[in-house]
């Protein structure tokens, strides 16, 4: 796997592909996807023979299929898609299909660190996961919330361990759902289980559960917190000490709980999507301190800045010193950094991206029907008809900007490398 340092970071603009030309070669071209390094652009295409394949930088895969969907690039820049042939389904990676074929596959995911590919699959109404072409040995009568660990070694999913007939409410309430880790289900069953988190060394799996119609808790490796709450959201492992926190509802208000006990002091109208700094020392979350007002709370202290409609896509900078997020008020999207919003709002915005040392923030935005990249509050003067999220180089000196241009670059997919020194400063 080519590391990010090895990507082409030479400043300048490169036209990678002219998509207008693709149109003439095929019966239909679907929306394009771009590799993380920006060197490849791909789309599902329909050939003149009524079959489908993937076209990468103008060259189609050799094989064609009855159907192709869910085209995505892995973190290591391979193009992967779900494909079918004679009513069977598999995964094709850079044109080569897996050996295994299934009655259906979906929910393709990549592990962040090493680009392992996971999918959910079904054969004869039995559900299981597949990791890099290796299916689980056991199947279940249903499967949801498939989650892949960072290094791709662990796959966990909520599975149904006891079948229930429709209408059998008593059986359901006894608990029919559990968690399968790498194909092996936990012993305990719950009424429901939902979102999963896997700790960094893959040994621990935490999941939010409901163990009666009214009691919500967190189970970690098949062991439930002794306490229950009236509602709960996704748990998170502390990246350093493996403690688990989750937003919980208690006495009608939300609070962050840690290892089964109420942890933060303040009570919120809503609290969710909490996340850790990499050193595990700080926790931040999206909160509504009062009804209809949204902000970020870091270590239980909310920002003064609030938004009326929502706050989302919050992240710590890699150096853990800053937090950036998106906020929406009166239909306009704002980027907020450490409790201050950039002055100009956008029609739409995508997740903020920090430079490695946290000094710059770049965001893909939409304004008046055009896309652009905003850096530190100012728009770069490169208009796009379609754009992808920007990427900083590991040394923070370059910014990779990817998009399909406008004007003389119309229909052309370009890759720009900009020097961060030339970017607008805060």
């Amino acid at each position: 796997m080519k590391s990010m340092e090895e990507w082409d970071w030479a400043p300048g603009k490169k036209i990678v592909a002219d998509l207008e030309k693709w149109q003439s070669g095929y019966a239909a071209v679907e929306e394009p996807y771009v590799s993380p390094d920006g060197e490849k652009i791909a789309a599902i295409v329909k050939t003149e023979e009524e079959s489908y394949t993937v076209c990468v930088n103008g060259t189609p895969w050799e094989k064609t299929f009855d159907k192709v969907w869910s085209l995505r690039f892995s973190p290591d820049n391979r193009a992967a898609a779900l494909v079918s042939d004679t009513a069977e389904w598999s995964v094709a990676v850079d044109g080569a299909t897996w050996e295994n074929w299934f009655e259906f596959v979906w929910n393709m995911q990549f592990s962040k660190a090493n680009s392992a590919i996971a999918v959910a699959a079904q054969n004869a109404r039995s559900y299981f996961a597949v990791l890099d072409d290796t299916p689980w040995e056991t199947g279940f009568s249903s499967m949801n919330n498939l989650t892949v660990s960072r290094n791709g070694e662990t796959l966990a999913a909520v599975v149904q361990t006891t079948a229930v007939k429709e209408g059998d409410i008593n059986a359901f309430q006894k608990g029919c759902f559990s968690v399968a880790v790498n194909g092996v289900a936990w012993k305990n069953a719950f009424v429901n289980a939902w979102e999963i988190d896997i700790n960094p060394d893959n040994r621990l799996v935490a999941v939010e559960v409901r163990h009666s119609l009214y009691d919500y808790s967190i189970a970690i490796n098949d062991e439930m917190w002794p306490s229950s709450f009236s509602a709960i959201w996704r748990p998170r492992f502390n990246p350093v000490d493996n403690s688990v926190t989750a937003p919980v509802k208690s006495a009608g208000e939300w609070c962050l709980a840690k290892d089964g006990e109420l942890f933060w002091e303040r009570r919120y109208s809503q609290l969710w999507h909490h996340f850790y700094s990499t050193d595990g020392k700080s926790i931040a979350a999206v909160v509504a301190p009062t009804y209809g007002k949204w902000t970020i709370a870091e270590n239980d202290t909310p920002w003064d800045l609030t938004f009326k409609e929502l706050v989302m896509d919050a992240v710590y900078s890699p150096d853990n010193r800053h937090i950036a997020c998106l906020g929406k008020t009166d239909g306009k999207w704002y980027v907020a950094l450490d409790g201050k919003a950039w002055p100009t709002p956008f029609d739409r915005a995508w997740p903020p991206v920090f430079s490695p040392r946290g000094e710059d923030v770049a965001v893909k935005v939409e304004i008046d029907g055009k896309y652009a990249i905003a850096v530190n509050g100012k728009l770069l003067d490169i208009p796009f008809a379609v754009a992808w999220n920007p990427v900083f180089s590991p040394d923070g000196k370059k910014l990779l900007v990817k998009g399909i241009g406008t004007g003389k670059d119309e229909g052309k997919y370009c890759r720009h490398i900009l020097e961060t020194e030339s970017l607008p400063r805060k």
Partner: protein
Amino acid sequence: MATTEPKANDEPIVLDDAIIEGAEKLSEEDIAQVINDMIRTEGGARFKAYLNTCMSCGYCSGACHYYLSRDKEPRLAPAAKVKQTLGEFVRKKGRVSRETLMRSCEIAFTDCNLCRRCMMYCPFGIDVAFLMLFVRRVCHKLGVVPRYIQDTAHSHSATMNQMWVQEDEWIDTLQWQEDEARDEIPDLRIPLEKEGADVYYSVIGPEPKFRAQLIYQAAVLMHAAGIDWTMTEFPGWDNSDMCMYTGDIEMTARLKKVHFESALRLRSKRIVMGECGHAFRSVYDVGNRFLGWKMPPIEVVHAVAFYDELLAEGRLKIARKFERPVTFHDPCNIVRGQGLHEKARSVVRQSCETFIEMEPNREHNFCCCAGGGVINCGPPYKNKRVKSNRVKAEQLMAAREKGAEVVIAPCHNCHGGLEDIIHHYKIDIEIKFLIDILFECMEK
């Protein structure tokens, strides 16, 4: 002085075995404790103001189709439903018998569609639907809920959809509909997970399960109008919500979170939803509130408003108008729920030759008697549901006499309810969705 026993009811007291089983597990102490806890923690200002202010004047009685259809049975007057349920809870300080609890459960779940018509007829604007929902929440907490709707709530919790549709079945249905539609329009797509698409289209669980042709028709309409749209591959595609009707508001919150967050993740500009009334209510002013979103975090557009907009912008063109005379049923949840009645009429007038109004109409239309989760309480209550909406039958018959051959109802539940009514009262009228009409009449 005061109350007399009402005349004997022709229904057996409790029809649902799940209600009986649930109640049998409870002692009077259990019941009292839950009722009193609920009143203490959730019986807020509205609850108190409504209960204190009702003057027992009966202005609301004539608003309710149950009351009118069942020969003005006093116990079916909206305020009477409150009196028999919460009235008893409060009067007896929670110490009500199992029988009262079971009756309360049936009243709240199957004698009220939460249609909010009576709220428009009460001088004080007392929201009987709100109070019936309070009763339902108490029933939920006590585990005394009709079987069918409880099962639906279970499905929601396990699959995030109403109909136990598995993740692959959903995708498979969309691909199947896409294939079908391609026979008609070769370059048609049902784009899945298309990030950044303008429109995120969501439907209710029964569409993939029973009415997949509606997805087909929607895809053709999106294609004809040139809409940049998408649907999600993942749970969250279902905008419906029976948990809001069983009183499991924690689950409603979870369902709506998944729904909104999938649209936000795809960063669509707005959610357009199919023709469903209750789902609109859940997304527009119920579920979002439970989550702390004062208004939906992303604009939600009901199909009716969407069609009207497409016609007004000329993106959708009518090739030839629908010839048979039509009438229109105003679904409570999008009319009293968002005032879409004029937009609906504008779509009907643009697409149909002859439009005949039902009386009463717009905000004053009678509910179909299926809504509020009543049809979801299943077969045990079908007979009652149909008998309790004679007024709807009369309304339809009058429209039929004026010449209407088709009744358009842009709501799934209304379809179920009206179908049963049309069948039972033998009314010679056909029922259609608005999209059925548009699909037939538009330029493709």
